[in-house]
């Protein structure tokens, strides 16, 4: 039996251990992932177990990490790169967008770059500047990448193994605020039997027959969404929570099926709203479900501001109340925040 109770961070560790053991082309690269085991201890013990060649502390240079990992993949390796925090991925943006994402298309399918880029993501942890970013949309807008975000320990272990096994590059987001969440984890699930990497999960099915709402989110907000659903249930509102899991591609079949049933959708994300994933989801759902919609999709997002200092993050991040406010709005309920009058254009 391989099941045990693990935190999300330990589940990732177990997934990495299994991937390293299963395929000696897998190797880990990043800053402080060796002796330290990463600032979140996700790689704890792995250098000891697999050696400094397969679990490599790299120089402090993110473009260098991704660029050399691409070179290693050219020769058959499957590098798993850790970016220490979300805000430190931007120095590698060029290598990711212009090289990693495009190489398979550039070479007409000859060169495969099965990199996995692990990125601790999001806020809610009272961190310093650049440590609470939600850059999902940048990568979802980049053709050639797959983008996933895990929300629970079992998905963490399995989806990480699936990402590493994928012949496509995968941007793998790990919500920091859930690293310590515990759950039962089987770290040896047969990947073929597991839910596909690209599939969304109905995290909470709708019950009761009051007014119904589909609530779509991922990663760090899944827990908040579940709480909101429970609170709404007390008031007779039936919320179906969808944990998107894959942000590119998005499993619109699952989302659309739910919206066709509920007629209403709220999308919650941490990142700024403008040109974010919530907008993408709202647009596609409107296209696919227009005649089923009772109200316009409601987006509950971070504001269009740079991530604020820790003492203000509670006002920036969608929380239970803001999500419930979104639910109120999509239900057209009195007391919900009214749409603002048109602002003057400067």
């Amino acid at each position: 039996m391989t099941t045990s109770t693990l935190t999300l961070a330990k589940a990732l560790n177990a997934g990495l251990r299994r991937a390293l053991a299963d395929d000696d082309h897998v190797l880990l690269m990043g800053e402080d992932i060796g002796k330290l085991g990463g600032v979140y201890r996700v790689t704890d013990g792995l250098q000891n177990e697999f050696g400094a060649r397969r679990v490599m502390d790299t120089p402090l240079a993110e473009s260098g990490i991704i660029g050399t990992a691409i070179g290693m993949a050219y020769r058959g390796y499957r590098p798993v790169c850790e970016i220490q925090f979300d805000g430190f991925v931007y120095p590698a943006f060029d290598q990711i967008v212009s090289q990693l994402a495009k190489m398979h298309a550039r070479t007409r399918g000859i060169v495969r770059l099965p990199l996995t880029i692990r990125i601790p993501v999001g806020g809610g942890i009272g961190a310093a500047e650049h440590h609470s970013e939600s850059p999902e949309a940048y990568f979802a807008h980049t053709a050639g990448l797959r983008v996933v975000s895990v929300s629970n320990p079992q998905d963490a272990a399995t989806m990480l193994r699936q990402s590493i096994a994928s012949d496509d590059p995968v941007i793998f987001f790990e919500p920091k605020r859930r690293y310590h969440l515990k759950g039962e984890v089987d770290d040896a699930v047969a990947l073929g039997d597991a839910m596909p990497l690209g599939a969304a999960r109905v995290a909470l099915a709708r019950t009761g027959d009051g007014p119904a709402v589909t609530l779509v989110t991922w990663g760090g907000l899944v827990g908040v969404a579940m709480d909101a659903a429970l609170a709404a249930a007390d008031e007779g509102v039936a919320i179906e929570v969808i944990d998107l899991r894959s942000l590119s591609p998005i499993d619109y079949d699952t989302v659309s099926a739910s919206v066709r049933a509920t007629g209403r959708i709220v999308i919650a994300q941490e990142g700024p709203g403008e040109a974010g994933l919530a907008s993408e989801i709202a647009a596609v759902v409107t296209e696919r479900c227009f005649h089923f919609l009772e109200a316009a999709p409601v987006r509950v997002t971070g504001h269009d501001v740079p991530y604020p200092p820790a003492k203000l993050e509670k006002h920036h991040l969608p929380d239970l109340d803001r999500i419930l406010d979104g639910v109120d709005r999509v239900l057209g309920r009195h007391g919900a925040q009214a749409p603002a009058p048109p602002a003057a254009v400067r």
Binding site: G87, P91, E129, D304, P308, P309, R346
Partner: protein, 366 residues
């Protein structure tokens, strides 16, 4: 490998140097005592801030313990019209620039991303993105040069100073900063504190050869200095500043020192560091050696007493002020994103203000 420039060794013995002594001949007892006090004070700030973090008053703190000479020696060498672009660890430099004690901790309490007015103290907001500030310093130096040309003056210019660590040497931005600084021959000093670690990574992960070798390949002169020797640090910094002021272009300084504490209060260095190494470097303490030297020069117990008093004063100021620090109001979120009016964000601010009001009046939604 030549030894770093050292004027005061770890035993407090002063070594004469034809080349470097002229740069510090003005440092009399009063000046030395003042440097000593500065180091004691900033060490105390570090201790206090670390304690405040443990007590939950700060979210995090990046100690500079062990790096006092590197930061005070260089920081005190600057002129008020110079401009510093630093990382998060240069609290002693900020202290030299005249930053208020409470302003040193605001960022780490999560109140703001930058606590002081850069233009009042001649020092930019602390930079978290490793190496990014080296380009800002270089650009600032390009601007100094432009100003001089525009105004038809030359010589005695202000200088831009970039502070960064050994780890930063690997970032592409730092290489590009060297390129721009070299091509345009601008008045910038690159001050690299090699404290032996980038979080857990020893400096050998970043380089195969001494860091001081790096700038030469870009055409930038570099010196390696004992970063725990405040005299030597002062001397090499003054030389580099002088070169910059007189139109001689950029310089690089590698201050060889050691981060005696954790990377930040969130770090556990026992996972990656040999206690013997810590001990070895402890014996090279920058403060102890200057005290020995000053005592040899005749300083009495009032040296210690006065320094302790200054440190106590600062500690009291910090403790007294910290509880009075107020959280920013919610709508501050929107206040400074743009310099000019922005209808999209104004609308979000108004929506959120209405939401908060409704919330206050009606309680939670649903």
């Amino acid at each position: 490998m030549p030894e770093p420039i050292r004027l005061l060794d770890e035993h407090g013995t002063r070594h004469a140097s034809e080349e470097w002594d002229p740069w510090i001949q003005d440092l009399d007892d009063a000046a030395l005592t003042s440097l000593y006090e500065d180091m004691v004070v900033v060490r105390r700030i570090d201790t206090e801030a670390t304690a405040l973090q443990r007590q939950g008053e700060l979210a995090l703190w990046p100690p500079l313990l062990g790096q006092e000479a590197a930061q005070i020696g260089s920081g005190r060498a600057l002129r008020s019209d110079d401009f510093v672009f630093s990382s998060y660890r240069e609290n002693a430099v900020a202290y030299c620039r005249g930053v208020e004690i409470l302003d040193l901790v605001r960022v780490w309490r999560g109140l703001t991303a930058s606590a002081w007015n850069p233009f009042e103290v001649g020092m930019a907001a602390p930079q978290v993105i490793i190496g990014a500030q080296t380009l800002h310093a270089t650009g600032y130096a390009m601007a100094i040069q432009h100003d001089q040309v525009r105004d038809g003056v030359s010589g005695d210019s202000a200088v831009a100073v970039a502070y960064f660590g050994d780890g930063a040497m690997s970032e592409g931005d730092v290489g590009e900063a060297f390129v721009f600084a070299s091509t345009f021959q601008v008045p910038v000093v690159f001050f690299c504190q090699n404290n032996q670690y980038a979080i857990s990574e020893p400096v050998r992960v970043q380089t195969h050869v001494p860091l001081v070798d790096r700038p030469g390949g870009f055409g930038i002169p570099g010196v390696q200095v004992d970063g725990n020797d405040v005299l030597a640090v002062t001397a090499v910094t003054r030389q580099a500043l002088d070169r910059a002021r007189s139109g001689g272009g950029p310089s690089f300084i590698e201050a060889v020192t050691y981060r005696m504490g954790p990377h930040t209060t969130a770090d556990d260095p026992t996972r990656y560091r040999d206690p013997a190494e810590l001990e070895e470097w402890g014996a090279r303490d920058p403060i102890a050696r200057l005290r020995t030297y000053l005592e040899e020069r005749g300083a009495g117990p009032e040296l210690e007493a006065r320094a302790a008093e200054a440190a106590d004063r600062v500690a009291r100021e910090l403790r007294a002020g910290i509880s009075g620090l107020e959280d920013p109001p919610a709508l501050d979120l929107f206040a400074h994103v743009y310099a000019e009016q922005h209808p999209g964000l104004d609308r979000q601010r108004d929506d959120y203000a209405r939401y908060l009001e409704g919330f206050a009046q009606e309680g939670p939604a649903l």
